[in-house]
């Protein structure tokens, strides 16, 4: 069964026809040529495809495109105007927070959302006090980023990058 949907990806509007089985990730990568979100495990376990979907970090590999007609999506490629870097991207460069780079677009999108979630006062499993404002210490960053795997194990630099972008270095 086919369905016609609209998506807005990194500010650009698209209209396309998709099979109901098509995931949002495959629709972006294979139909729209948006290859910033990477296909890692395709089962929601690695976080390489993380994007901001309607403002929240989510996994397009576990989303049916047909169910997201009208969605607004920001990928790592659309975080900053062309030629510029988002502060999180700059922090990843400054801290050498990647090696092969395959997981990096997902890490960056996740980190942008983490800073937003912390600003909203959302607690995490690492928060000792559920009602206090969270601090961007090592354990908080590590826990909040646990949905983004890095097979090069650049975690030791990813944590400081997230802290730098969050104004704590």
């Amino acid at each position: 069964m086919d369905a016609e949907i609209s998506l807005r990806v990194d500010g650009q509007a698209h209209r396309l026809t998709v099979d109901t089985r098509t995931t949002l990730l495959d629709a972006m990568r294979e139909r729209l040529g948006v290859t910033s979100p990477k296909k890692g495990c395709d089962h929601g376990q690695c976080g390489a495809c993380t994007v901001l979907l309607d403002g929240e970090r989510q996994l397009p590999c576990l989303a049916l495109a047909v169910a997201h007609d009208g969605a607004e999506i920001t990928t790592a490629d659309g975080l900053a105007p062309p030629g510029e870097l988002h502060p999180v991207q700059q922090a990843f460069l400054d801290q050498d927070a990647f090696q092969c780079g395959y997981c990096t677009p997902g890490q960056v999108c996740s980190a942008v959302a983490v800073l937003d979630e912390v600003a909203r006062g959302w607690p995490s499993h690492a928060s000792t006090d559920l009602t206090a404002d969270p601090e961007l210490d090592h354990d908080e960053v590590s826990e909040r980023m646990s949905g983004n795997l890095c097979r090069c194990a650049a975690y030791v630099n990813i944590v400081p990058a997230v802290q730098q972008a969050g104004g704590r270095s």
């Binding site: 395709d42 576990l62 049916l64 996740s110 959302w122």
Partner: protein, 333 residues
């Protein structure tokens, strides 16, 4: 992936009507269903999208409780200040589950309906009574580290994977359900089934019945509550065992206690025997251990090619003692 039709009805009443057809499934956040579509574990004819049809609000109820619409995400429910203050066990359970990305997608109505992570259930090349009734259980005598020690059957030894559900069982939550014949309320502890001879049915919900909201009763004692999860790594892993507990202690005596266990059974396991053993008695580590022994009297660890899951019996005991000890210290200093 098997082809399927997709429907996004205009409201919940229409969704329930459409979903009464055999072969229809509801789609909420989809974090488990979409994976199962890919794996061939789920092979529906029709996917009925209800993600935007139910309430996405957490509201105060007249009796002092809370009501969370089925579309409230796990992140939103965990971050709700009333949940954090009045039901910390629920916020902690939600935050102990999955990842930030998944919690932003998974819903209040969908989370309790996620299916077991038994590897044989998810591997369509192996027999599984839950996936294909009558084919047998590959887990029995296989790898059983993540399997049940309480309430299992010869047909299935799977565990329920949800953390949130363990907290809801301890809190005596109630499930608002809309079905073809109208609305009904199901006590959360009665939502999930033990496997018996039909493990294909995880819950008592009938075809077409939709969870529309979760009700949390007023429970002042729940301000002193906690969720403790033991897993193979520090984050993003399912529970080997977990404990959700509400404890009210005064002058060293247990006034009220609610306990549910995760990772040990086909459903969130409400530990009524342990509760009974504790009420009115001393809040001491010895009493907590004795209550755990009471609850685990009928535990049947599974042998397995990975060494089996006998470790869960002492692990539940120690996790329960530690959780109740901490809750006692929080009240009595």
């Amino acid at each position: 992936m098997k082809p399927f039709d997709y429907a996004r009805p205009g409201d919940v009443a229409e969704a329930v009507r459409v979903a009464t057809l055999p072969g229809a499934v509801f789609l909420g956040g989809g974090t488990n269903l979409v994976d199962h579509l890919k794996l061939g574990v789920a092979r529906p004819d029709l996917v009925v999208d209800v993600r935007t049809l139910t309430s996405r609000e957490v509201t105060d109820t007249e009796d002092g409780g809370l009501r969370a619409g089925a579309a409230v995400t796990n992140s939103e429910l965990a971050a709700d200040r009333r949940v954090r203050e009045r039901y910390p066990v629920l916020a902690q359970a939600l935050l102990a589950g999955a990842t930030g990305q998944l919690r932003n997608t998974a819903t209040t109505g969908g989370n309790p309906l996620q299916r077991t992570r038994c590897v044989y259930f998810q591997d369509v090349t192996t027999p599984c009574n839950k996936r294909e009734p009558g084919t047998g259980c590959s887990a029995i005598g296989g790898t059983t580290r993540n399997h049940a020690v309480l309430g299992a059957s010869q047909a299935c030894i799977a565990t329920h994977p949800s953390d949130m559900a363990v907290a809801l069982a301890a809190l005596d939550a109630c499930v608002q359900v809309l079905g073809p014949t109208g609305e009904r309320t199901v006590p959360f502890t009665e939502l999930h089934r033990l496997p018996g001879d039909d493990p294909s049915r995880d819950t008592v919900l009938e075809q077409g019945e939709l969870i529309t909201a979760m009700g949390l009763p007023p429970l002042p004692a729940a301000r002193t509550s906690a969720y403790r999860k033991v897993r193979d790594r520090a984050s993003y892993a399912f529970a080997l065992v977990s404990v959700a507990a509400v404890l009210d202690v005064r002058d060293g005596v247990v006034q009220d206690v609610r306990i549910a266990l995760g990772g040990v059974a086909h459903k969130p396991w409400r530990a009524t025997r342990a509760e009974q053993a504790l009420r009115g008695g001393p809040a001491t580590p010895d009493a907590f251990a004795a209550a755990a022994a009471e609850e685990l009297a009928d535990a049947r660890p599974q042998p397995g090619i990975d060494g089996g899951n006998g470790f869960k019996v002492p692990l539940v005991t120690r996790t329960l003692v530690a959780t109740l000890r901490d809750l006692t210290a929080a009240q009595e200093g």
